[in-house]
Each structure stands twice: as structure tokens, then as C-alpha cells.
Symmetry: C2
Subunit: 253 residues, 2 copies
């Protein structure tokens, strides 16, 4: 039996990134694609339970089926693995996202929400992101790296409750130097809201922001990306702050 790869994203089924990822994945086995019907960026790990979701078949073939869903990326993983996969997926792929999901962006990312949901469900999962927000981003230089990571994941698997967060740089000289296994760099968005007034005289607030990373160590994803390497951060579904347990025990009991 050929491997089965489940593919989703958060940019929506129309995005270029998921088409490239599907093309690459088909070399390795059968694929089932289910993606949101519209852009679902920034939806993180949100899911839908207070209303039903709809699934729209786009193409159903033995080797490649494609569905559109009116839910979130996490919904896609949940309903697709249960209802639309002919067997348990060997690997869940999310992306290729148009834009970075490195560092603190992992918290907000629908791409990684989907990958972490797969990991919770006991499935091997990888989120891929390219550091280019353009709808016309050139994904081709990243393809050999994605192929190798998928091949390794199918052969070696992944540890329990762990998904890979893979980010791919767009170096000025076009040369990706290799791959680094990293930790998530400490960073944040310095948010600011533009307060504007609508045609009826009422205020509204629109988020903008600036990414700030003061974490300059060379074992982080930001370092890898800024130095021309693909970053792979093993990402966990266990949010416990283990290194802080003792101090909290001293202070709070």
C-alpha cells in the first residue's frame, strides 16, 4: 500500500503554496487535500464546534482527492482524517505557507495549528512556510529541501506529540545553504493599532505591528533563516513550562 499524505494549509485552497506542496507530495504516495475555502491566516489552533462545517469536493480520484472546507485548518485535519481519508494518513503536511511561521509566529499560525492538531491525533506532521508573502512567491528553490524532509519523515517518522515547523528563507543571493535544527527564538510583535474613523463618524482599529527579536543566539530559527538555512523547529503539543515548575511551586503553594 502506498503512503497516504494528508495536505492542508491556512492560505486557502487557491494558494500557490498548497499546489506546489501537493505536486511534491504526489511523488511519495496518494494524497488527500483539504483546505479552507478562504484565507484562514492567523486562526492558530481554532476549531469549529458551535456550528456544522461544510465540505465541497473539488476532485475525487484514487491517487489524489481534493476538498474545500468552510472551517479552519484544524477543522480540515480533524474531519479529513476521520471522514475523507481512505486509511490513516502516514504524514500530514501543512502549507507551503506564504510568509514566515518562525519564532513567535508559531503561536498565531493556522499552518502550524493544523500540524500540531495532527500531532495531537498521533499523526506525523510537518508545517512548511516560505519567507515570502507574495501570492506569486517562487517556491521552486525550496522544493529539494521539502522533498528530503518528507522522505525522511516517511522513512523515520517523528517523535510522539511533536510536529516540525519548517521555514524556508529567500536569501538575497538565491542560495539556500542547508538545514538547521533549531529552537524557537524569543521574539514578539510590537503591536500598534491605527485608529481610524468610518464614513459614519465611528472609530475602528486596525492592527499593524513590527517584529522584534532580541534573541541573538545561533541555535534559533531566526538565526538560521537570516543566515540562509532552512530552519526546522521540533514543536510540541505540551505547553508546560517545565523549567518554571520549581519557582512556581515555591511562590504559589
Amino acid at each position: 500500500m502506498k503512503p497516504l499524505l494528508l495536505i492542508t494549509n491556512d492560505d486557502g485552497l487557491q494558494a500557490a503554496g498548497i499546489r506546489v506542496l501537493t505536486r511534491v507530495a504526489r511523488q511519495f504516495g496518494d494524497v488527500v487535500v483539504m483546505a479552507p475555502e478562504r484565507n484562514a491566516s492567523g486562526l492558530a489552533h481554532s476549531f469549529t464546534s458551535s456550528r456544522p462545517i461544510r465540505i465541497y469536493p473539488v476532485s475525487e480520484q484514487p491517487e489524489c482527492s481534493i476538498y474545500m472546507c468552510d472551517g479552519t485548518p484544524v477543522d480540515c485535519v480533524k474531519v479529513c482524517s476521520e471522514y475523507f481519508c481512505p486509511r490513516k494518513p502516514d504524514l500530514v503536511l501543512s502549507g507551503i505557507n506564504h510568509g514566515s511561521n518562525s519564532s513567535i509566529n508559531v503561536l498565531y499560525s493556522g499552518t502550524m495549528g493544523a500540524a500540531l492538531e495532527a500531532a495531537v491525533s498521533g499523526l506525523n506532521a510537518i508545517g512548511f512556510s516560505l519567507l515570502d508573502f507574495s501570492p506569486y512567491a517562487d517556491f521552486e528553490p525550496s522544493v529539494p529541501f521539502i522533498e528530503k524532509i518528507i522522505k525522511t519523515a516517511l522513512e523515520k517518522g517523528l517523535p510522539e506529540n511533536t510536529a516540525l515547523n519548517v521555514n524556508i528563507p529567500v536569501p538575497a543571493d538565491g542560495i539556500i545553504k542547508g538545514v538547521k535544527i533549531c529552537r524557537q527564538s524569543k521574539a514578539r510583535w510590537l503591536d500598534s493599532y491605527e485608529k481610524r474613523t468610518d464614513p459614519h463618524g465611528r472609530p475602528y482599529y486596525w492592527l499593524s505591528g513590527r517584529f522584534e527579536c532580541e534573541d541573538k543566539e545561533n541555535d534559533t530559527d531566526q538565526w538560521a533563516l537570516e543566515n540562509g538555512y532552512v530552519s526546522i523547529v521540533p514543536t510540541t503539543t505540551d505547553f508546560s513550562a517545565y523549567s518554571k515548575l520549581d519557582i512556581i511551586k515555591q511562590l504559589y503553594v
Copy 2:
């Protein structure tokens, strides 16, 4: 200057839990409340940037201002701390959620999304949840524990990039035995979707599920809650799977 406490939730401004939390918090300082205009459960760490958000003032007094927001819990923390707080909040409180956010629920939780967003922004933050989904849940037995945790947080602070995930049991005998500092138990939802047919003959899918926890150690939040203790899990904004870095380095480079 009195401490300033920012309060939000994911059940919406009309929920009983946030009213109780606001009443408790007012003992400790000035409060600014900003909560979603409707139920935002399950929105996790999602935020709004592709459209503007609206803020509706409900009451603006020097010691207690209340606002409603048409965004997510994370939006509430972002815009409230920037635009609607007279000074930097000393503490961000989220909840009291109607229903558990222990164990794997932390991934899906809007309550904890808000708390983690505050932690990312360098603010001390705590999410509170009561293990009772009822809109008429009795929050009174939990009040002394919440008071003590808020008092400690204002006096001692919290470690960097760490928010507390506090869950409060509803023991059959009504007696809460105390507080335990815990790790997040390993668990998952066994999802199932009910496939139904609408009046027009088209299918829709509605999520249901069953919580499964096979993690039976006595240092987890599930153990504490099942044994009548309030659970406090220090929760991190760093999703790196540190214990898996070496194995991934061996396999994937």
C-alpha cells in the same frame, strides 16, 4: 498608584464568569475589562488583522472601565493594553471560563490564548477556568483560591514568557482540598463528526468528541482536578520540543 488589572475572557462579556472575576479583581486595584461581544470559545490564539475591529464602550469609570470588542480574546489583550489602559497593566486575567481548559484543551482555548498573548507582550497573566460548562455555574467556592492566586501574582510576579493555566474542580462533596502545581497531562479528544443532511439534501458535518486521558501520573493537572485540587500549570510561549532536539538532529540533518 493602585495596581491595574486587565480582564478578558472567551465566553463573551455577558458570561457570569467574567463578572465574578471582575468583582474579585476590583479588591486589588483598578480594572479595565474588554471581552468579546459573543462567545469566542475554541478560538485559541487567533487574531484579526485582515479587517479592522470595533470597540464598544459599556462603562468608563476611573476604577472600572468595561468595553466590548468584536474580535477575538487575543485581539482584546492587544488593543486593550495599547489603547484602553491608562497605564501598563500589572496583571492580565482571563476567565473565569465556563468549562475546563486543563490538559490538551489549552491548545484550543481562547481563555488561554489571551493569557499567553499577554505573556508574549511581557505582562503577567493568568487564565482561570471552572470545570462547569453551565451558564449558571456556581463560582463562589472558587473565589478564595482565585483571590489568593491574584494576590500572589501581584506580589511575586511571574517568570518571563509564562502564563498560569488555573483550573478549578467542582468536587462531588463540594470541598476543594487545595492547590497543586502541575504539568499538562497528555490527552486528546477522540473526534467524531456527525454527518447530517440539510433540508436541501446537502451534507454537513458537526463535531463531537470524547476526552481521553491515558496519562495516569500524579503530577498532572488531570490528576489534581480529579482528586479535588485546583491545578496550576505554568504554561510557556516557547513551543520548542527541547527533549526532541537531539533525535531530530540525528534523523533530519
